[in-house]
């Protein structure tokens, strides 16, 4: 009563028939048209029992509450700062969330964050009007000094970080560079010039091979070749004094999906939660991406977009303060 036409982890493309029969359930990146389940996005097919979804390989960053990102100050406002966060919308860091210090009225705000400064910030809210709020108060959040900035594909960030931070930690250990990876695809690094070149090349390699198996090995080999030294396996979490490693690990804590705000929007949609899947690192890749998809659930008949599930729940947040 059903036939899967494509293997798990194969690339699927819009219009491609993934399965026939009423057995299967469409989810992110797939929809039902009569008897067929069809992909509606370029991605890696993920088969979980009867549920078929796709993991996106491209697409601009869409902010979500609790994302840790790296943004650049675009403008200094009366009430805070506007940030370019590599998304279709800019974001605001309000005065009250800028620092644990008390910021007096009339103080020169550029002393805290000046135009063109980069900072590690966290998304606190995304309203239905796509107004995005940030905070710089919290572990690992800070203005960045020195170093350089790299822009990566935000869909590949879970891979660049790796399961429990293993990939980025591997690159850090091999090159002795400080690296902070923002959910929005912006990456900050700081190290010896020759090592930075190698770290950048390693990150690009992860981006290019992210949809393949065995990337960790491939990158490890690449790093050992380029640096000419063996990389010890990580036994304990890394010892850096800067909080960037805390930051990386905590990225896997996704907002709990039983939050009141989110309940109404997402009923009827299958929202996976974080379970520890010990297998290969693509599981994490899956995990990371499910929560950020903007896929529709096309339960309607005969194509088109059904009335239910207008998608993009996070942009219809009930905590709309504006």
């Amino acid at each position: 009563m059903g036939e899967l036409l494509v293997n798990d982890k194969e690339i699927v493309v819009p219009g491609q028939v993934i399965a026939k029969g009423l057995d299967f359930l469409p989810s992110y990146g797939t929809y039902r048209l009569n008897e067929n389940i069809i992909a509606n996005r370029v991605g890696l097919l993920s088969v979980e029992g009867k549920v078929l979804k796709t993991i996106p390989l491209s697409g601009r960053y869409l902010p979500q509450r609790n994302d840790m990102i790296i943004g650049k100050v675009e403008d200094i406002l009366m009430s805070g700062w506007r940030f370019d966060i590599n998304a279709p919308y800019s974001a605001v860091l309000p005065l009250k969330d800028a620092s644990f210090d008390f910021i007096a009225k009339g103080v020169d705000l550029s002393k805290y964050f000046n135009i063109d400064d980069y900072a590690v910030v966290k998304v606190t809210n995304v309203t239905s009007q796509n107004l995005i709020d940030l905070t710089a108060k919290g572990p690992g959040l800070k203005r960045l000094r020195g170093g350089m900035i790299l822009k990566a594909n935000s869909q590949k960030v879970p891979r660049i970080i790796g399961k429990k931070g293993t990939m980025v930690s591997l690159i850090k250990r091999a090159t002795d560079c400080k690296i902070i990876v923002g959910q929005n695809g912006i990456i900050w690094l700081d190290g010896e010039p020759e090592m930075e070149v190698i770290a950048i090349a390693a990150i690009k390699k992860v981006e290019e091979e992210s949809h393949l198996q065995g990337v960790t090995e491939s990158v490890k080999k690449f790093l050992e070749e380029k640096t000419g030294k063996q990389i010890a396996d990580e036994i304990e979490p890394s010892d850096d004094n800067d909080h960037s490693s805390d930051f990386d690990d905590s990225q896997f804590e996704r907002p709990e999906m039983n939050d009141e705000e989110n309940q109404g929007e997402n009923s009827g949609e299958h929202r996976p939660h974080n379970n520890e899947n010990g297998e290969n690192s693509t599981e994490n890749f899956n995990k990371g991406n499910f929560q950020r998809t903007n896929g529709y659930n096309h339960q309607s008949n005969g194509g088109g977009y059904g009335g239910n599930n207008q998608g993009g729940g996070r942009f219809r947040n009930q905590n709309d303060r504006r």
Binding site: G15, G59, H211, Y296
Partner: protein
């Protein structure tokens, strides 16, 4: 009556050879190159991104903005003066309308999705090639699209209905040939672009629209292949 033999010796319902590639413009969010015969189009997608000036923004949805342009050395004959022409503006508009039915931008209010189409060389069927390239580029950019949009022209030359007129065929019978560019969503056979040059009777038009469907489905497969190939393991 003598049977019409196409200058290219193609079958009546056969389109020209297609080459399609995705991801050719590195800085774009999605991109493609689509070549059919000697007509070649590049498309790049940038977006969703902020739309300026503000009065163009739509608070209910992102806006799709297509920009079709022929490069100065791409015309059949002398140089084409650079810059938008009435023709290119119209083509930009119908391209946008051809793509909108498969893509939903309501998730990105107040933004724009820019699609730039440039043609380095043309030999008839340029707006169709542009639409094909644009569809691949949008998919390459990760947009949710229920299917590809494939486009090709169908028309009649010397009284015979043929698919994908090339430049030579377009110029035969200057006043008697008809040229109908068509874009279609392959899975549902819905038509998203339909225009015409010439004079045609209703039944002939409907027959032509049936004749062109298989070619469009083949083109859609090429578009999908281009997207898949981008992720193939390179030896």
């Amino acid at each position: 009556m003598e049977k019409f033999v196409r200058p290219s010796k193609r079958k009546l319902d056969e389109a020209r050879a297609v080459e399609a590639e995705a991801g050719v413009i590195k800085k774009a969010d999605g991109s493609a190159r689509f070549k059919i015969g000697d007509t070649e189009a590049y498309a790049a997608v940038y977006g969703p991104r902020e739309l300026h000036p503000k009065f163009l923004q739509d608070p209910k949805t992102g806006v799709l903005r297509c920009n079709y342009n022929m490069l100065p050395f791409s015309g059949d004959g002398s140089r084409v003066r650079p810059g938008p022409s009435r023709r290119s503006k119209e083509i930009s508009l119908v391209t946008e309308k051809a793509l909108l039915p498969v893509i939903d931008l309501r998730e990105y209010p107040n933004t724009v999705v820019d699609v730039f189409i440039e043609l380095p060389q043309t030999d008839a069927g340029s707006r169709c090639a542009g639409i094909c390239a644009a569809a691949i580029a949008l998919a390459d950019a990760g947009f949710i699209m229920r299917d590809m949009v494939a486009a090709v022209s169908v028309g009649s030359v010397r009284g015979t209905v043929v698919v994908d007129l090339d430049g030579a065929e377009e110029h035969m019978d200057e006043n008697e040939s008809t040229d109908v560019p068509v874009a279609m969503i392959p899975s549902t056979e819905e038509i998203t672009l339909l225009q015409m040059d010439g004079i045609v009777a209703k039944n002939d038009l409907l027959n032509a629209l049936e004749l062109v469907k298989p070619a469009l489905k083949l083109i859609a497969e090429k578009q999908r292949e281009a997207l898949r190939n981008r992720y193939k393991v390179k030896e």
